[in-house]
Subunit: 410 residues, 2 copies
């Protein structure tokens, strides 16, 4: 059984958090200076263990073994949400590095090859899961041409050029080269911690459906325009948010979640009635019929709001992820590895968050492992995981990786 | 009777709209490059008609007559709202310039002196009516130290430094130097146009009370955090906006207006439950008891929302303007001038918008004249006024100015 180096793992995780350090977390948006520095550092680490390293045209970092045999892809995404935690994405990336390194050093792993990977923009600063979608061939140049940063509107093309990636080719999956894909991630919820489990074996990943909704009212002076004749786009946005809060619980499943992440009023000045409002909304569920029901309800509510407020309305679905079941043999390998590590406390669970594994699973066998999040906190700079859990998770994943590769070759 | 030069007036108005031109309107925020260029141009025009011009420490532009006698202050604000109309503020500023020029040329106006003025930041990019409040001595250095741009957060001190105003003294009102203050402005509503009147004689100006309201929830992952345990600051903001829409009509007067101009969710990402929400809210009324009733209701609703959503709440009142009655003799002078111009269609009316006249009226006799806004549109780049109304308004104001000064000196 390959034995990972716990000290080296924790040291690398800490080192990686220096790229874009923000309080106890990181601010490392995709293609920012800090993000690209972190990718170049990863590339060097891959080279250092004898892999052929490559940063591709959308910023994915690949460490490719020289062996003829098929390898096991292990990784996650390198960038962070804005002003968020140090482990979201980074954990799985550094696990991939550490496991590849361990396999390259361990005599009993000779002939078993790990291909570490760091995907770009899973967090959707430009396009959610851009890197893994590009890898499996689900992104075309036209989509890249259209995309812009969700915060500051910089076109993706300009961001790629600034990151030195213009003209660099995008690495495409050749399925025959890989046994499958493993991804480790922090749970981002509190269920492992609450139930006293240390390893989560992911059974399926929810589908996330995301929308950009716009209301068009009549921009006017906030003093001289009588209440009765107003068409207030901001009021329309608030009306929709409250209508969703009232109606969704009746059509959703108990595990469904929905979130209004952003409301933007134009022009956003104190003395002007907003002429336009933009609402960024998403919901998640693991069942396709539920997702479709929520979609229909949302469209109804947007129309009802438009009628009620006298505003024009547009709704665009910007993401519609399919719920994805993880490979059952891979799940068993992770579960058995957790049992062998004698932690005595692993559990099967669905993932309520989207991950690159969901994308890669469309073309390769794939599975995921979760480690506990302290207090269930995530997407915030206070996100954290106990060191002992960080180490245990990596050791279990390394063990599972060996089982999977041995199953193929011995 | 002094006769203004209609062609020159319209030409100057058009020229002034080149500073920060945006579509058919202007984008000329206070202390922007374009705003400071427009102020320097005004200063040159004041000099050209023999006035002593001065841009003071907050950007107010004064054209000071050399006469010993008291002069009549005429003007408005030079900056615009963001991406807004070409006449809001600019109209009164260019009227001041044209009337000063007309008086300097007209033989029968010898000895009657006009002091044109262009105030800074009436629109509140940093502090509402900053310039006129500074002039009457109601701004101290500490308030300037604290203020920052409402859009991008640049400290006011830094903006003043960048505009070349650091260390420049602020011009203070010496009441003995002035007979009073006149300000012309577009109506910004549709009542003049709807009733077929061409001149509005302002009787009083509403009080505007403005608030910054913040809700503090728990920022977390939008997928892994169950609906039942969320503390969603964005939902709190929407709840408040809807509670106001329901409760305010019951406690307000029929003429009261209220507006949520901005909602900002932090961090504003699609997959993160907002941990903080900021709401920019204001209301206006011409009666103090109504303003106080609305204030109390708002504070109740903020507390009720906090309890209902489990979020913490803060409310800060950032502006509390007192409704102000205009000088009755000045009102009569404007009314009589309108009658003499044989337009046959003027009307007395309150102003539902705040103006620098409201501030200056605390220390000097003051009055205002309105010209019609096409379609009642304002604070939008499509804002406009018929050329014939632009000319008529200036002529009426010039005529009223003569009456007021003659009343003092002949």
């Amino acid at each position: 059984m390959p034995s990972i180096n716990a000290e080296r793992l924790l040291s690398d995780l800490r080192y990686f958090a220096r790229f874009g350090a923000y309080r106890a977390g990181v601010h490392r948006p995709t293609y920012s200076k800090e993000d690209m520095e972190s990718r170049r550092w990863l590339s060097q680490q891959y080279e250092a263990i004898g892999l052929q390293a490559q940063i591709d045209g959308v910023g994915n970092v690949f460490g490719m073994p020289h062996l003829e045999r098929r390898s096991l892809l292990i990784g996650s995404h390198a960038e962070s949400q804005n002003y968020a935690g140090w482990l979201d994405g980074a954990l799985g990336v550094i696990y991939g590095l550490e496991i590849a390194r361990t396999f390259s050093e361990a005599a009993d792993c000779a002939g078993l090859s790990i291909a570490p990977v760091a995907w770009a923009d899973e967090e959707g600063h430009y396009i959610s899961t851009l890197g893994s979608r590009s890898f499996i061939g689900e992104i075309d140049e036209a989509e890249i041409d259209r995309a812009a940063n969700v915060d500051h509107g910089l076109p993706l093309r300009d961001a790629l050029r600034a990151a030195g990636l213009a003209g660099v080719s995008r690495f495409q999956l050749v399925p025959e080269r890989y046994v499958g894909y493993l991804e480790a991630h922090i749970e981002q919820g509190d269920s492992l911690q609450a139930s006293g489990h240390r390893i989560g074996v992911v059974t399926s990943i929810v589908g996330t459906w995301q929308y950009s909704i716009a209301f068009h009212g009549a921009q006017n002076h906030a003093g001289t325009t009588r209440m009765a004749i107003r068409k207030d786009a901001g009021l329309a946005a608030a009306t929709l948010v409250m209508a969703i809060a009232e109606r969704f619980p009746r059509v959703a499943d108990p595990r469904s979640v929905w979130t209004t992440g952003r409301i933007r009023l134009e022009p956003g000045a104190p003395s002007i009635i907003p002429g336009k409002a933009e609402v960024l909304f998403q919901f998640r569920d693991s069942e396709m019929p539920v997702l479709e029901r929520l979609d229909a309800t949302l469209r109804d509510l947007v129309q009802e709001t438009a009628v009620k407020t006298g505003c024009g309305a547009e709704i665009e679905r910007t993401e519609a992820g399919t719920p994805r079941t993880m490979d059952s043999a891979f799940q068993a390998a992770i579960e058995n590895a957790a049992a062998r590590q004698a932690l005595g406390c692993h559990v099967r669970m669905p993932s309520a968050a989207s991950h690159d594994a969901q994308v890669v699973a469309r073309r390769l066998r794939a599975a995921m492992l979760f480690v506990p999040s302290v207090g269930g906190i995530s997407h915030h700079w206070t996100e954290n995981t106990d060191s002992s859990d960080l180490v245990a998770g990596c050791q279990v994943l390394a063990d599972a990786a060996e089982t999977i590769l041995l199953g193929e070759y011995r």
